[in-house]
Point group: C2
Chain length 406, copies 2
């Protein structure tokens, strides 16, 4: 019998036993998309490095436009042009305006810009400004985007496109990152053969190995698929032993407590630590093993494909992101109405595969029922409906939390 | 003045002018994560190829267990063992049971399996089955997961980990896919230099180029960053001309209708088709150009970083996914309460950057206000609040649609 533990409890416990980030290094910013920062990034300069206009128009002192309107424009002397890509030579005197393009550097003395549309040059060296602007209006002040000394991005943050844009804007062309963990994937089962092989009678091709391998790739890890091992203790020991050269090991199949389930025994046989959790309060996905061997995460996933994928998404992925160095932000569910009754039992979390549709301004989740031994239910699904630990099921039309597959 | 068009209208129009998928080819299933199928995948065999037990226990005829209970077990003759990875030699006769491990092949004649926990062997060659099972219980029938002739996955589908698992399970080790489109990225601006260069006075480093380049990478396209071009018509023409060897071109800056905005003119100068939309009913992101040149998508993005990124996410990304061959599923928003008033004007869609937090069982969106010329607002944000075309703004506490950045 398995001693089941709630997923959140298992995660907290395991996270405490595994270091965040396996190895730090550096990457060029250009190639750092999806990598995790291993240190805070502090801005070494101001962005922008000078005050800039955000419009085509005139650089002015805002105070010179106060009270101006279309019928009573402020008349200012045009004292020159700001050329793009250079700093204006002279400061702007009171009562004056300079023509300025979008992105042009504001002359000293100016604190705002007026849009071209509100201005008219009668041809006598002046400009009639037909509207007032406040200080800072239509300009970005020096350092308004990022100021010297600001923490732009934090240790543990996974880099997104906009982050790379800002880093490059600050001239930061390489960044401290955690190297991607390398994760071994092993499938077990006397009846399982590699996909490239023709299964003989009574045998099937491995599905969990390829699906978990691809999940790791999607999640920014470096997967190493080590193939299929029969249900023989010695063979499983050998396979896991050599997989321990990687940063983590995921084994699918043989994770329950039956006579042919040897993965937990093998995890324990490696000594230091061994199995920490055997059994999750999770459906599907209950027969999951979480072990730590010499500081490395070793997981036994259920053999049923949907169980393996649910256990991976909910219990393994957060730990792999931790090992990858990420400080994992909270998941954000979509709220949807469940289109049929789902029975559940308090004491275990349930993740029900579903599709989603919008109907009458509301989001509806359509549960996809089916045995956890089927992978096709995962293919027809776009998301999971989450029934928490204390849920006794939901009625048709109830609002539920839905987590999209990424 | 720009003639603004709603984003949905622009997308529909452009989608009609651009072919879905640039070039089809084949990829090995192992390396096909994130690629888009260029044809339906039809199962050529049954999955599983034989009926399997999903439990450790006994293969039985369900009818032989009807009425069985703990106090009144059904007594069946044990007629042998199913060995893993082989097909049982003899069919199961009525009144008999065979020992079977999880994943074992059901003998002919059997239609269900009973879990070990409900059975006892008294030692006289029989087994006492202490519970009834229905036909199909604890087994997966031949072809129950995927049947020969089923359309497993459709043309235009972007491959996910579970899809690869099923493909490999069916022995499909290569798949028809659309090749990833190659997309050129050009930044324009006299004041803009490459990130690796030291900007002189009045100049700034390119942020849009790297951010858009990384967005393309994230979205499964092959980006080609062609660097920075000054605001000179000839130079922009040359740059776009050589960028047209790629499958699409994204230019940032110079996309409005001012005296220094030349991208629309250049798009038109290439003849066939030219600018289709100049101006989106979108904030930020209004000065966006969508053109078709000789069947290829050419986009002018605003120079302000947040505008460029919003226009990319909302108006460009769906078209690039179309060019990549994908039949793009509807976006799924998160519903959250807006933590402050946001004013808006009917007639344009707004995307307000926001962070998200859970508070009292509810999701709250905290708007991040700031000029569209700032990239830091995109860094502090995790999502966009979407105010539709007809919105006149939202009050504090109102429910809004929120789209997470991927």
């Amino acid at each position: 019998m398995l001693q089941v533990v709630p997923v959140s409890e298992a995660l907290e416990h395991l996270r405490g036993m595994l270091s965040r980030g396996v190895k730090s290094g550096r990457a060029s910013t250009m190639s750092a998309l999806g990598l995790v920062l291993s240190a805070d990034i502090v801005a070494g300069e101001d962005l922008p490095p000078f005050a800039r206009s955000t419009v085509d128009g005139y650089a002015v002192r805002a105070a010179d436009t106060f009270g101006a309107s279309e019928s009573m424009p402020a008349i200012l002397d045009v004292s020159g042009d700001v050329a793009m890509g250079s700093l204006p030579g002279a400061p702007l005197s009171g009562g004056c305006a300079m023509r300025i393009p979008t992105g042009g550097a504001l002359p000293e003395g100016a604190d705002a810009a007026v849009m071209l549309e509100y201005c008219e040059e009668p041809g006598d060296g002046t400009v009639a400004v037909g509207g007032a602007v406040g200080p800072g209006e239509n300009v970005i002040r020096r350092g308004e985007d990022v100021a010297t000394g600001d923490v732009l991005l934090k240790d543990g943050h996974r880099l997104r496109p906009q982050d790379l844009g800002a880093l490059e804007g600050l001239g930061i062309i390489s960044v401290p990152i955690y190297e991607k963990p390398r994760v071994a994937v092993i499938s077990t089962g006397d009846e399982v053969v590699r996909a490239s092989e023709c299964p003989g009678p009574g045998r099937i091709r491995d599905m969990n190995g390829p699906a978990i391998r691809a999940s790791l790739e999607r999640d920014g890890l470096v997967p190493e698929y080590l193939g299929v091992v029969p249900d023989e203790r010695g063979r499983i020991e050998d396979a896991i032993g050599s997989a321990l050269q990687f940063d983590a090991v995921l084994v699918s199949g043989g994770s329950s407590a039956g006579p042919r389930d040897m993965v937990a025994l093998v995890f324990d046989s490696f000594g230091r630590q061994g199995v920490v959790v055997h059994g999750l309060a999770l459906r599907p996905g209950k027969p999951t093993i979480m072990a730590v061997i010499d500081g490395k995460l070793a997981v036994g996933l259920p053999g049923h494909p949907s169980s393996a994928l649910v256990a991976y998404e909910t219990a393994v992925r957060p730990l792999l992101r931790h090992i990858a160095g990420e400080i994992v932000p909270a998941g954000i569910p979509v709220r949807a109405r469940c289109s049929r009754n789902i029975s559940s039992r308090p004491g275990r979390e349930e993740f029900v595969r579903c599709s989603l549709r919008r109907d009458g301004g509301e989001m509806w989740a359509d549960p996809i029922l089916g045995k956890s031994g089927l992978i096709s239910t995962m293919i027809r699904a776009r998301a999971f409906i989450h029934l928490p630990l204390d849920s006794g099921g939901v009625g048709k039309g109830s609002l539920v939390d839905v987590y999209l597959f990424d």
